[in-house]
């Protein structure tokens, strides 16, 4: 009866009040056959990690809009390390300058999708890389 499903936490991080992008990604991951826990807005690194622990998430997906990605991402990576979440995939999406992609990967993000990325590529990436 092995019915394993990929469980993904999708969250906005930071203070700006738009979560349309995150919602769209959440529902498209659902269409991709995943179980998506949608956290909404106003999350902190700590609250995202606690949710990921409670839900035993395989993937954490973060959505940024207004330039806080270089502030929050390292904090989340650090929290993940502290909590033994080495086998949890960390994926970041949103709008930011192209040169920040490499910066975030250096920080420990597994993959970065800039605004306008095709959704199938996100679904495929997660399916192929989930640990």
């Amino acid at each position: 009866m092995g019915t394993e499903k990929i469980k993904v936490i999708v969250s906005k991080v930071g203070l700006d009040g738009h979560d349309r992008g995150a919602k769209v990604v959440a529902s498209l991951l659902k269409e991709g056959g995943m179980e998506v826990v949608y956290l909404g807005m106003y999350q902190t690194p700590e609250s995202i990690i606690k949710a990921a622990i409670d839900e035993d998430a395989d993937v954490i997906g973060l959505s940024y809009l207004s330039g806080e990605h270089l502030v929050y991402t390292p904090k989340i990576v650090e929290e993940m390390k502290k909590n033994g979440m080495d086998d949890v995939l960390l994926v970041v999406g949103g709008s930011f300058p192209p040169e920040d992609i490499e910066v975030m990967k250096q920080m420990g993000v597994d993959e970065v999708f800039r605004g306008g990325s095709r959704i199938p590529s996100i679904v495929n990436y997660i399916t192929e890389n989930v640990r």
Binding site: T3, E31, D54, N83
Partner: protein, 334 residues
């Protein structure tokens, strides 16, 4: 073994997970729940270890149509129970899409008030095709959350409609959430009230028509319960679980109080023993069905028999009932 430093899946050892979660470790509990949800053998081993330690928590079901405000209400109820120093676990079930097999689990969004509280464990669950308002593994998940040492476990059903009565097998106290302006559904509603409600929250009491609806519900309860001299008569409590301002919220303390009153009634009247026995009977039935099915399919595997049976049924030479009888005779020697 230090679970803290272990990557999630390396710690998938039923004994280690059981030991951890019995001490209240949420990481161990979270991993244990996944094993059980996936129907894995390790999950089965784990449940065997946990069973002696369950059955002490209050289990509260919250049911009602989607959008009636179940999650919002639970969010506030948690607050009241936390202020009394009780540890709370929540299981919130949402539907799995029959097309993609995926699910959008949005209840957690409404529980944000508790997102940093270590005394609250919240788990979202997809129904994975199981009918009846819950997921197949919900009973075991509730058991795991009990074993963590939570004083209360609150179960939110997915609110698909009228046939959500599975909750009465899992929960000791059932809160039915209704809203004003459900006029057309009044008959179905009455059936639901009679079958499952231990108390009724008339939520969105800030909306038009709340007063009329309240009177009509009270009349239904009076007619259905009081005149039959039922031992427990559900209270109807108007609530506001979300509003423009926080002081709009009301009725929450009353709901929490009524839940505890019902729990006291169950214990004083010893009805709790009946409920617990019913729950075990239900669990036994489910486990039995699953295990027999697994055993039979395992026995059939590689024999090519399954295909033969299907062909025989298609050709009208036999029927599913006769096939199952034959299979059971062969594999279980009954």
């Amino acid at each position: 073994m230090n679970l803290l430093a272990m990557p999630r899946k390396l710690a998938d050892n039923p004994k280690a997970l059981a030991d951890g979660l019995l001490l209240g470790d949420r990481r161990a509990a979270a991993r244990a729940i996944t094993l059980v949800e996936d129907g894995s053998q390790k999950g089965t081993e784990l449940m065997k270890l946990l069973y002696p330690h369950v059955g002490r928590s209050m289990v509260i079901g919250v049911t009602g149509a989607g959008g009636s405000g179940k999650s919002s209400l639970i969010n506030h109820i948690i607050r009241v129970f936390r202020s009394q120093g009780r540890r709370v676990g929540v299981v919130a079930v949402d539907p799995t899409s029959p097309f993609s097999g995926g699910a959008l689990l949005g209840d957690r969004l409404r529980f944000q008030t508790h997102s940093m509280d270590e005394g609250v464990y919240i788990r979202s669950m997809a129904s994975r095709g199981y009918l009846g308002g819950l997921a197949r593994a919900t009973t075991d998940v509730v058991r795991i959350i009990e074993a963590m040492g939570n004083d209360l476990v609150i179960v939110e059903t997915l609110g698909a409609g009228q046939d959500e009565i599975d909750i009465i097998h899992v929960a000791q106290t059932c809160v039915l959430v209704l809203t004003p302006g459900m006029g057309d559904d009044i008959q179905a509603m009455k059936a639901g009230i009679m079958e499952i409600a231990d108390l009724i929250a008339l939520n969105k009491a800030d909306l038009d028509g709340a007063e009329t609806c309240l009177r009509s519900l009270e009349a239904t309860v009076r007619y259905g319960f009081e005149e039959k001299e039922a031992a427990w008569i559900p209270r109807v409590i108007p609530t506001v679980a979300a509003g423009a301002r926080t002081d709009d919220v009301r009725g929450i303390e009353e709901v929490a109080e009524a839940i505890l009153a019902h729990q006291s009634y169950l214990r004083e009247s010893r009805t709790i023993h009946e409920i617990q026995a019913k729950r075990v009977e239900q669990e036994l039935g489910l486990v039995f069905r699953d295990e027999v099915q697994k055993a039979v399919f395992k026995g059939l595997k590689g024999t090519g028999k399954k295909r033969q049976y299907i062909r025989a049924i298609l050709e009208g030479r036999t029927d599913p009932y006769s096939v199952v009888e034959e299979v059971l005779r062969t594999f279980l020697r009954v």
